[in-house]
């Protein structure tokens, strides 16, 4: 039982991180029809910049996280101006978007590796302090991450639902040309999308770095597949779906290691579990959990 509670809690924490990262990717897709393969490396970048500001420059941790979020947003907007806007103008197809996103991911990842080296990093936080809850050991760091993540998720859910710009985003993703002719400022929608994606990617990176304890320049890439699985599971382009997909995958991945299920799957295979779940769901529901059933070929 204690094991179960432990895994359940770990799954919730991991799921909230997946959800936050997946939300950014899904939102970008819904507005720009772009699967951002570079998103994983944005996570890595923010973990490293947060480390740089908080440990090397002794900036308070919260401030360092905020700076990293600003960096994530700035980089997203920079890439929008430098690359994505121009690609949209030339009417680039899916292949071009995929390959350019991959190219961006390569450049970003190798730049991080070149700048910060291959050593692993660790935030200057109390990793040892734990609470006991129903027999499970719950780390303080995990608890903080879960609380912050819940606040961020609630805030963004309300923002998309209620705010004017959130409504514009949903309208634009439903029908871009209709939204444009009804006077929605498309540029503003796109900029807001990149801001959310940049800020949430940065948050997810810091959270993952905190929960993992140590991280290297490969962190985001290792996580990207599970995040993409969450995005597709919750139907790509559906922001709420991405959150649900993230939690579902986080929980399934953690609980799959529980010994009650066939003695538990070795934890090294967690990403394999994530994708097996995805493939099985897609076999029955090809458009993801929240997708509208489309014609089949």
């Amino acid at each position: 039982m204690a094991d179960f509670v432990q895994l359940l809690f770990n799954g919730l924490v991991e799921g909230s991180i997946f959800g936050i990262a997946a939300l950014g990717i899904s939102l970008v897709y819904s507005v720009l029809r772009l699967v951002n393969f570079a998103a994983g490396d944005f996570l890595t970048l923010s973990a490293f910049t947060t480390y740089f500001f908080s440990v090397d420059l002794h900036v308070p941790l919260v401030l360092a996280v905020l700076i990293s979020m600003v960096i994530g947003i700035a980089l997203s907007l920079f890439l929008e101006l430098l690359i994505w806007r121009r690609l949209r103008k030339t009417g680039a197809g899916m292949l071009a978007l995929f390959l350019v996103a991959t190219g961006v991911a390569f450049v970003l990842r190798q730049s991080i590796a070149l700048t910060f080296g291959s050593n692993s990093r660790k935030f200057d936080i109390d990793q040892i302090k734990t609470f006991e809850f129903l027999g499970a050991q719950i780390a303080q760091a995990q608890l903080v991450v879960l609380c912050c993540a819940s606040i961020a998720i609630t805030a963004i859910a309300v923002f998309i639902k209620k705010s004017a710009i959130g409504k514009n985003m949903r309208a634009y993703s439903d029908n871009p040309s209709l939204a444009a002719v009804s006077g929605i400022n498309v540029q503003r929608v796109i900029i807001a999308t990149w801001c959310i994606s940049g800020a949430f990617g940065a948050l997810a990176g810091v959270f993952q770095g905190t929960v993992q304890g140590q991280f290297t320049s490969g962190m985001g890439l290792d996580l990207l597949l599970s995040i993409l699985a969450a995005v597709v599971l919750g139907t790509i382009g559906d922001a709420y779906g991405a959150l649900v997909g993230g939690f579902v995958l986080g929980l399934v991945m953690e609980l799959s290691t529980w010994h009650v299920f066939f003695g538990g799957i070795p934890s090294a295979y967690k990403p394999v579990v994530a994708f097996s779940v995805l493939v099985i769901v897609l076999l029955f529901k090809p458009e993801g959990i929240f997708g509208v059933k489309a014609r089949r070929i």
């Binding site: 699967v35 690359i83 121009r86 690609l87 030339t90 009417g91 680039a92 197809g93 899916m94 292949l95 071009a96 995929f98 390959l99 350019v100 991959t102 190219g103 961006v104 991911a105 390569f106 450049v107 990842r109 190798q110 730049s111 590796a113 070149l114 597949l225 993409l228 699985a229 995005v231 597709v232 790509i236 070795p266 090294a268 295979y269 990403p271 394999v272 994708f275 995805l278 493939v279 897609l282 076999l283 090809p286 458009e287 489309a294 089949r296 070929i297």
Partner: protein
């Protein structure tokens, strides 16, 4: 810079570009004809090379049978990928295909007692007291050819030289076959599905089956590239099959203009220079980083080339623009 003058360097580049050329040809069948965006192609390479290595080392099976089995497993991998996900939307297929190759690599990485895990093929448990090597049969063939060619061409003929001949001969034969295939009615139907799947479907064509066939054929070609990769490197490691390798293939494909096979050899050689040439980037600003870090720069350059290519010339060197811009 003296290493550039040595024939060994050029032959190395030829070998590498030949292997990745074959690899890219597999993608060519899938994308150039069928419009299928497979980003998990490296998984087929991993499946064929590891299957071959394990069969030879752990079970003492004849190299040729093992190599055929390896290619067959790659074909099965392609069939599995296609059957489970090809019915999905195009972008879902691409995402799941990346995951497929990563999962193959993951399983290889973690199955120590079968694949040697992190230590690579050297740790595959051999049959009896043998040294865990799978290249013996191939090496003896290379030696025979080398003994035959050396009196004619002189000392330039070494193992690598013969290897390059075999690889480019294979690439040439495959190019001939595929360019023939691309003129068949089968390819015409596939090309029609690339533009629009409703019209062929309305004409009674089973679109899914055509696409599945394209994925399997591409996977077989990827599997052949995997066998050559294994023979060339003479030991395997899970690190050989990172997702970035799939994009080596995509880069060759885009450079050659995805819908035309004839540009592929040149594009492959161009890629070979990028791949093998970065070790000579000893001048400023690359002189600021040490040699281990220069491997990072190679991938970075490939990223930059991909971005610039897709932004400035998505049709590649030989392609037609209207065939590349679909939407």
């Amino acid at each position: 810079m003296s290493a550039i003058m040595q024939p060994g360097f050029w032959i190395f580049i030829l070998t590498m570009s030949g292997i990745y050329g074959i690899f890219g040809l597999g993608l060519q069948v899938q994308y150039g004809v069928g419009g299928i965006l497979n980003f998990g192609h490296v998984g087929m390479m991993a499946l064929s090379s590891y299957t071959m290595a394990i069969l030879v080392i752990s079970h003492g099976i004849n190299f040729w049978i093992a190599a055929a089995a390896g290619v067959a497993v790659a074909a099965l991998g392609g069939a599995f990928l296609g059957l489970t996900t090809l019915r999905l939307r195009g972008d879902y297929f691409s995402i799941v295909s990346i995951a497929f190759s990563e999962i193959v690599r993951y399983v290889i990485f973690n199955s120590d007692n079968i694949t040697g895990g992190t230590q690579g093929s050297l740790a595959i448990p051999p049959i009896g007291d043998n040294y865990p090597s799978y290249t013996d049969a191939w090496d003896s063939i290379l030696r025979h050819v080398q003994d035959f060619l050396q009196p004619i061409f002189g000392d330039i003929v070494d193992r690598e030289f013969v290897m390059a001949i075999f690889i480019w001969a294979t690439l040439g034969i495959l190019l001939l076959i595929i360019s023939r295939v691309e003129r068949t009615s089968w390819a015409r139907v596939l090309r029609a599905t690339r533009e629009d799947d409703e019209v062929p479907a309305a004409l009674g064509k089973n679109v899914f089956r055509f696409r599945l066939q394209a994925v399997v054929i591409g996977s077989i070609i990827g599997g052949i590239a995997g066998i050559y990769w294994a023979l060339e490197s003479s030991l395997l490691s899970p690190e050989d099959f990172l997702t970035v390798v799939t994009f080596y293939g995509w880069m060759i494909l885009i450079l050659s203009g995805a819908t035309k096979v004839k540009g592929l050899p040149l594009a492959a050689i161009f890629f070979g220079f990028l791949y093998g040439g970065t070790r000579f980037f000893t001048f400023f600003p690359f002189s600021l980083v040490d040699s281990a870090q220069r491997a990072y720069i190679r991938i970075m350059i490939i990223g930059v080339v991909l971005i610039i290519l897709m932004m400035k010339r998505p049709q590649g060197i030989f392609g037609k623009r209207q065939e590349m811009v679909l939407e």
